[in-house]
Symmetry: none
Subunit: 420 residues, 2 copies
């Protein structure tokens, strides 16, 4: 197994100005060819700390990929420090200088500023990785069986260099050592907590193969289960992954709505499409979020004609047709009002199903009987008793709205699958 | 100067599945109170590597903040390793157990599964930081002048614990040692591109003080301008920041809708509240996103009674009242339809203003005359000619929906400020 470390360089990463998306991109690329990423170290443009980080990374890994600090300005110190660490002199690389000069011409920026000459200075013995996306080349150095790479930190330049140069070179040079591929599949669940899920799935040691792991990743409205398989053979790895997935699906199938990048709304829209049924919406506290989610899905127009956002009580009464008496007697956040909202919008819009949400998202509007987080959701269907559900969510408005929308989608998903 | 290291724990961070947003949030929070972040180390759920990372971080820093691996399942090993490193026994902490049990009750999930008992096991001598957002408490340990903190990796739980506990405690304990404060203020603009903005603002060297920087950060629907000031005195720093902000505001005031975490919808709702006017919405391609944005703002019920999502043409005609002839003659994506949608919903809902959006978000629905990204937006107002605007946005559905919603809000903002 080959181990790699990513060293992300730049003050902007340490003062919270920039989120380190480069590291996850590089991790992904390395994993895909069977290189394990053992650590990501993020460090500022600080000579002593950077030297120490490079030394440690180089000592403990087969491959080190550093990014950042290759620009032409005084605070870009990475190359100097790398040269020093490997005891190499920085020498002018004429082909790179010509490339940098040409870039200034091509892009109409004019004559190359003097500062950019520094970008053509290369540590002796390093391989230059031509950069078609910017002025700073990537640099690569072999020592024994180890490889050191440094790339510019600008994400689209880094990605281009990874794809065009680094991954190819690593695949070639480590061909014999790259046996192990790492494959992932994420199963997406909803309607069940992490620990109950783990209970239902059971003791992982009974079904996980060697080299396989299962991780539970709780999100706002559900738990993601990531299966990872490490294998020296891609086909075997895929088989193992499939076997584990099949086992897990058997234990918890009603709670699974998709995998990897699927969304709950895609699952619901897909089921509606398949069953040639439609849904409309009547939203109060979510104010359009449920409809927005449904229409996130391209092709949703076949199953979702529209909805009414009845944020004010007057609109619930006048536009939706909720009886004034219901609101007077039970209030707008009530089982009766939720049911009426769903039934009214279903009739008006002529859909198979209708979903409604009314609640107190917070921070205002709470009463002693109806604290913030009190949410009623209803699902109406012709010739069927309207289903109503009460939830007590938390105190945060945005989270309550998000979870309410997902809970409504989940009610419909279960109905479409005859799960409730 | 106090130095801190952030240790981000979790396999999901090393396989590129999750971008490490926690680290930048924590960096920001620490910088704001004058703590320098010297390194971020990201490490998997791997005993040996995690122990080594904690040891190194603890050796070289005054403060270590670790996140992740505090869940109830078998792959959550952080607490055990931390306890081992500090040579502490894990002991049951009854108040925490009661809190975890209570959480399961409150949220109607039922009885606490056995696995969650582990979340109430605390290393002896550690301070428990109660977590109102989840089951895993934060943990804090002082040794000499050093502080070790570990928090759950779920972002909203981590943030809550940082705000409610960690930052307060650090400020109290290190009052005398906190160094240079770094202050940021971000001015939010819309309706003007980055280079025009830079032209209007002028040469930064004429108004930026020593230690101050100005960065232009283009986002989907506007450009953010971040002013940063480093100062050894909070009051001086704030004065400098205020002076720079005042200068910038003078140059570009019509384009500024807020600062820092303000949103465009907050600006619009605020203006409506102040002017005691109201708005309703008629949405087609955005499918509820515009309404969702307006109702993101707590207190929006005073200015937004609701809207109609008329995704299907039949709904535009039957529910909104758009004349069938308009749709037959010009199509649903047309100036005439957008104007009718806004005028109809305004009358039905009795609001001062109404906004409508109809367009081709993509990827389906395009025609040679109306390519993906063609969007019509209308703003209706009583006794005023309806304003209509045509936009040609890009090819990506989600971006088109997002930008359309913001463009509609910006139309209304300019009307409310008499800017157009």
């Amino acid at each position: 197994m080959l181990h790699a470390e990513i060293v992300s360089i730049g003050d902007e990463l340490l003062i919270g100005q920039i989120i380190n998306t480069n590291a996850s991109y590089i991790s992904n690329s390395l994993n895909a060819i069977g290189v394990d990423v053992s650590r990501v170290t993020t460090i500022g443009d600080h000579e002593k700390r950077l030297s120490a980080a490079i030394a440690l990374a180089w000592k403990e890994n087969d491959i080190v990929i550093a990014t950042g600090g290759l620009g032409p300005t005084h605070d870009d110190i990475s190359k100097v420090i790398v040269a020093k660490f490997f005891k190499k002199k920085l020498v002018l690389h004429p082909p790179t200088l010509r490339r940098v000069e040409a870039r200034f011409k091509t892009f109409g920026i004019g004559k190359m500023p003097k500062a950019n000459i520094s970008q053509a200075m290369i540590p002796e013995g390093f391989t230059v990785l031509n950069n078609d996306r910017g002025t700073a080349p990537g640099l690569l150095y072999y020592q024994g069986a180890k490889t050191f790479v440094i790339l510019p930190g600008v994400p689209h330049e880094m990605k281009w260099l990874m794809e065009q140069h680094v991954i190819q070179l690593l695949k070639k040079n480590y061909a014999k050592k790259l046996g192990d591929v790492i494959l992932h599949k994420t199963i997406l669940t909803i309607g069940i907590g992490e620990s109950l899920l783990a209970e239902k799935v059971g003791d992982v040691s009974t079904f996980l193969a060697k080299g396989a792991t299962l991780a539970y990743l709780p999100k706002l409205s559900g738990v993601r289960m990531r299966i990872s398989v490490r294998s020296n053979d891609e086909k075997n790895g895929k088989d193992t992954l499939r076997r584990i997935e099949k086992f897990i699906r058997k234990q918890i199938s009603p709670f699974i709505f998709g995998c990897n990048d699927d969304t709950l709304e895609e699952a619901v829209v897909g089921l509606l499409q398949k069953q040639k049924t439609t849904v409309s919406t009547a939203e109060s506290c979510t104010g359009g979020m449920l409809s927005m989610k449904l229409t996130n899905v391209s092709g949703s127009s076949a199953v979702f004609p529209g909805g009414i956002i009845s944020y004010a009580n007057a609109i619930k009464i006048k536009q939706l047709g909720v009886p004034q008496a219901i609101i007077n007697k039970y209030g707008a956040v009530s089982e009766q009002c939720a049911a009426a909202m769903a039934e009214c919008v279903r009739k008006k819009f002529g859909t198979t199903y209708a979903l409604s949400i009314t609640g107190i998202a917070g921070p205002d509007g709470a009463t002693p009987e109806k604290p913030v987080g009190t949410i009623w959701i209803a699902l109406a269907q012709e010739h069927t008793k309207t289903l109503t559900k009460l939830y007590h969510l938390g105190s945060e408005r945005s989270i309550n709205r998000e979870r309410s929308s997902d809970l409504a989608l989940e009610l419909l998903r279960r109905r479409l699958l005859n799960l409730s």
